[in-house]
Amino acid sequence: MTLHSTDFPQKMRDPDQPLLTVENLTKRYGARIGCADVSFDLYPGEVLGIVGESGSGKSTLLSCLAGHQRADLGRIAYDGRDVLAMSETDRRRLGRTDWAYVHQNPRDGLRMGVSAGGNVGERLMAVGARHYGQIRGKAVDWLGRVEIAADRVDDRPSSFSGGMQQRLQIARNLVTSPRLVFMDEPTGGLDVSVQARLLDLLRGLVRDMGLSVIIVTHDLAVVRLLAHRLMVMKSGRVVEQGLTDQVLDDPQHAYTQLLVSSVLQV
């Protein structure tokens, strides 16, 4: 196979049709609720932020959406296809072509024993790229786009700083030009200046590639910068959702008001 099969033409799509539709998604851990009755639509090019305190079900929701966990109830439709009814082959194929998942800890999303170039190239090889020169070329190109010097292409991620590892993870995920990216606290564990740079980079990539993103975080500054729309979760349920600025500037629900007022003003 040649690399052509990995160049995914971005089909022209009706921007008025949601890319992802979620209805009444529920996940229980025994008697406890992971998340309950979550419904939303995500449109092409839209960034949806999910905020809430620890244990509010944000990460459960994200892993159910990404197919890492099986939801108990509800429906997920991606691009008109029912994700939960899909065969595992199709779902995993979707997971390495159209979808991407950025872990909070880059060590979970990277292969630490494999060079940076190999990490970026893995998704290409997984969809059939078999030309070393082209794979490497694409890897170097992507390292450049996430501001990693090309001469680090053969270094292992274990020799990278935390911020570089996170940028490498992003490059590795975006190399097959996905359309939907799941991010779980992508800036967690990074110091603020590195965070700011990463957010800047993410914002540019999201805009240039027209990505749809679902980003889970407890950092309101992150959603303020990145997200178009915001969902606030508490105890497994969505308590408020709306445009980011609207929710943050004029919170209606008591919990959201608490959350917004808890942010330290420097």
Binding site: S115, G118, M125, G128, R130, Y132
Partner: protein, 292 residues
Amino acid sequence: MLDAGSHADAYNFAYLDEQTKRMIRRAILKGIAVPGYQVPFASREMPMPYGWGTGGVQVTAACLVPEDRLKVIDQGADDTTNAVSIRRFFQRTAGVAVTESTPEATLIQTRHRIPETPMTEGQILVYQVPIPEPLRFLEPRETETRKMHELEEYGLMHVKLYEDIARHGQIATSYAYPVKVEGRYVMDPSPIPKFDNPKLSGNPAIQLFGAGREQRIYALPPWTEAVSLDFDDHPFETSKAPHDCDLCGARASYLDEVITDDQGGRMFVCSDTDFCAGRRAEGHVGRLGEAA
């Protein structure tokens, strides 16, 4: 100590009991039916340590019949510890005839080599396998590697080859070089040198692979296609020491390097001792050899 004559009353034929052999034969048949697929089997404790060929020995025991002529190879040689001890084991417990000649053998158990002399239809070649999972060093989870085989997700195998080229400028994997069997399963051919990989494909003999510690059996039926993985711009190449055999002068056989003194003296000899001896008997003489 048992001698070859008294095996009948001391052990069941070929050491294992009949129920165990039946279980192993079922695994072998399944392996042959699904070429390259790793069939789990209930590996037994054998009277030798893991890593010495417990898997191969069990497969051999399950295949042996009294009329068989057995040959055992260790790194190509018939006279090294592993080969001698396994050969004697079956001489004692099965009382079968043994041979060092590849064409005369009906069943050959091998460690790390395929004989230079071409195999023929009707022969069985049993490999000893330490780690049957080709994806293991890249993906430590067994549940995950099984899923990857199930769904044919073999991109990771190329990541390994990519790493080789990135680090060494070429595919540096020189043994246990992964092959794709009949366009479906990726298989570890046991630690044979990649020099032997082309002989895996389209081989008229039945090739069986036994991993005792890992409890897996897999197989290549006769005339099965096994393609060595590679990149379009870095194709698969075999490799051997760039010398001729110093004893028999063979140009195309796989060579061992032997240190002969502490002054830097060395010689290259065929790793397949039977092949080398056969050539010398035919009158071929290498650089350091003596005419037969």
